[in-house]
């Protein structure tokens, strides 16, 4: 049958029960929106588990000092214990960071420095007041003592006194011929406590920094861990230097950012799968009474992650069932009134196949507009928020689920129509 005629006849169904179709449209709109929402939350909850794929096979022990406040002495002991053990043990396979920190230099504040000639800054958007961000690190006295910086030029952390209101920074050696010790400029500091977060979803602070020194060239340029993946224990320190800028934090200096130093504070240690490894790691790292509880903390948080992940999946299943029931209900209602119409089409020379085609086409017409609308809306609502991360697959899956519900309902209708004798359908509306 000609498509234009098929389309025209399938439109008959719309005006017949305009309110019903409006309701169906609204319902599809809401269901698609909800589906995308649930899918995007699943994606969000899955990110940590995805990043830490090894969670299942091995286990993770948290190592850190900032989140649980401890005395310096305790922390030092813990770090030492960790270092000694991590370097020599085959139980610890890899170490990863759990968050990221970046600094972007305000163009206005470095006008005459010619930074736009740097390869990593040439592509910068001229409209953007900041240069593209680079990895950064916050260094405090404790870390400085454990991993002292080797400088090409300038002053060590403890020996440099900055101007009032400035944060001292050690710059990468590539800046050496552009800046002098004592120069000040503005930066935007951004950080997030999870690798998966993007810049739109990060915390930020605006700082005036003052150059205290420049890193030794040999400190730089290791790519490992740059993308946020795991790196081996012995590369931990080199990786820490794989950044443009090290912000120095004196305990007495009023660092204006709260929670800034999680960056160094939270590492994830992947423990190998060999039997008893986790116990050994915890035993070895617990002389200070510090790592063992943290080990439990991370176990708990992994467990919580899984629970969080499970919940949206259950939501999704419930949502699909409810959506199927509701849409099936609306469709079923329409189909009862459609039987009579299809009987009429049949008498006028349609096959049941033609009738089904008008049914399918009608469904496509109903689905398309609300599905597209809710897809577009969800892009603005859930693109990247506290609890959602949106992805093209979310749209595809959501619209696919709705389409599947309709296809199943149409198929069900085909089966029913074929069982029905034509004469009966005629009778049905003769009555």
């Amino acid at each position: 049958m000609k498509f234009s005629n098929l389309l025209f006849i399938s439109m008959f169904q719309f005006r017949k029960n305009a309110l019903g179709y409006l309701l169906a449209c609204i319902e599809i709109f809401i269901v698609v929106l909800l589906l995308i929402y649930v899918l995007s939350t699943i994606r969000y909850y899955n990110i940590p588990i995805k990043t830490l794929e090894h969670v299942e096979s091995s286990r993770l022990v948290n190592y850190g000092y900032n989140k649980i406040q401890r005395s310096d002495a305790e922390l030092k002991a813990a770090i030492l214990a960790f270092e000694n053990y991590a370097y020599n043990s085959s139980d610890i396979s890899r170490i990863g960071r759990t968050g990221w920190i970046r600094t972007s230099i305000l163009k206005e504040s470095v006008k005459d420095k010619g930074l736009e000639q740097f390869p990593d800054k040439t592509g910068s958007d001229p409209e953007d007041p900041y240069f593209p961000g680079n990895n950064a690190l916050v260094y405090d006295r404790l870390i400085a003592e454990k991993f002292p910086l080797t400088l090409e030029k300038g002053y060590q952390f403890t020996t440099y006194a900055t101007d009032e209101g400035c944060i001292p920074v050690i710059l990468h050696s590539q800046y050496m011929d552009r800046f002098n010790v004592g120069d000040t400029f503005r930066v935007r500091l951004q950080w997030a406590d999870q690798w998966a977060r993007d810049e739109y979803d990060a915390c930020e602070a605006f700082l005036t920094v003052q150059v205290a020194g420049f890193l030794n060239k040999s400190n730089y340029h290791t790519e490992i861990g740059a993308g946020g993946s795991f790196f081996t224990a012995d590369m931990l320190v080199t990786n820490a230097f794989n950044c443009d800028m090290i912000l120095l934090r004196d305990e007495n200096a009023n660092f204006p950012v709260d929670g800034y130093d999680f960056m160094i504070s939270t590492f994830l240690i992947e423990v190998s799968e060999s039997s008893g490894a986790v116990e050994r790691v915890i035993n070895q790292l617990s002389p200070t009474g510090f790592c063992a509880p943290l080990g439990n903390v991370i176990d708990d948080s992994v467990y919580m992650l899984k629970q969080k992940t499970a919940k949206p999946i259950i939501n999704l299943i419930i949502l699909i069932i409810v959506a199927a029931a509701a849409i099936g209900g609306i469709n079923g209602m329409n189909q009862i009134s459609q039987k009579r119409d299809f009987g009429i089409y049949y008498i006028c020379g349609a096959t049941w196949g033609n009738c089904i085609k008008t049914d399918i086409l009608r469904n496509v017409l109903i689905i398309t507009i609300p599905a597209v609308l809710s897809g577009v809306l969800s892009y603005f609502l859930f693109r990247s928020t506290e609890t959602n991360v949106l992805n093209l697959w979310d749209f595809i899956i959501a619209i696919g689920v709705i389409a599947a519900i309709y296809i199943i309902s149409s198929l069900w209708y085909v089966i029913n129509l074929q069982r029905m004798k034509p004469a009966d359908s005629v009778k049905e509306w003769e009555d």
Binding site: K2, F8, F12, I344, Y346, T351, W352, N354
Partner: protein, 225 residues
Amino acid sequence: MSIIELKNVIKTYYTGSEKPVHALRGINLKVEAGESIAIQGVSGSGKSTLLNILGCLDALTEGEYYLDGEKVQFSNNRHIADIRNKKIGFVLQNFGLLNDRYVSDNIALPLLLGNMSKSKADKLAMEAAKSTGIEKLYGKKIKKLSGGERQRVAIARAIVTDPELILADEPTGSLDKATGEQVVEMLVKMTQSGKTVIIVTHDDSVAERCGRRLYIEDGLIREVI
């Protein structure tokens, strides 16, 4: 050549566990083009069953049905849909119209199903509406029309494809006497242009207007002279 020839047509309904219903027990019938025929009989005698088979709405159980010299193959859905679309016009007691649609859509429906373009179908539908005197109602919705007007829309739809055979099942059943007479008048008049008209009716006065009267009794045909 006869337009319709039924050879020993049997129709049996098998309804699950109940006893099979023998609705037609061996119908032999020849109808010439241009005839008007009334089919009468008590309720449940098989009138509608016969009309449904003639209209290719229901398959026969045994026997043969030749329409226009060609054997009807009930197992071929496209084939019988094509016959319904091109060769047969149906008029029913309860009109069988799309009540929420316009008169124009209802009349044009068989043409659209027969793959005609919308504009051409509209033109022919308007002509059919004129020939049944409802051109003034053309843009109205069916649910706004009276019974008599609806039946005239149904007749317009039945003749819009210029079929050879018009089948009417109790076309006056839902109408008052005067309107019913007009409708029958209109149907019978179509034989003048060579169409064959078969009307199932309870009403003797309707049957009297037809050229030939058949009685169905117990699934068998008896001709009344």
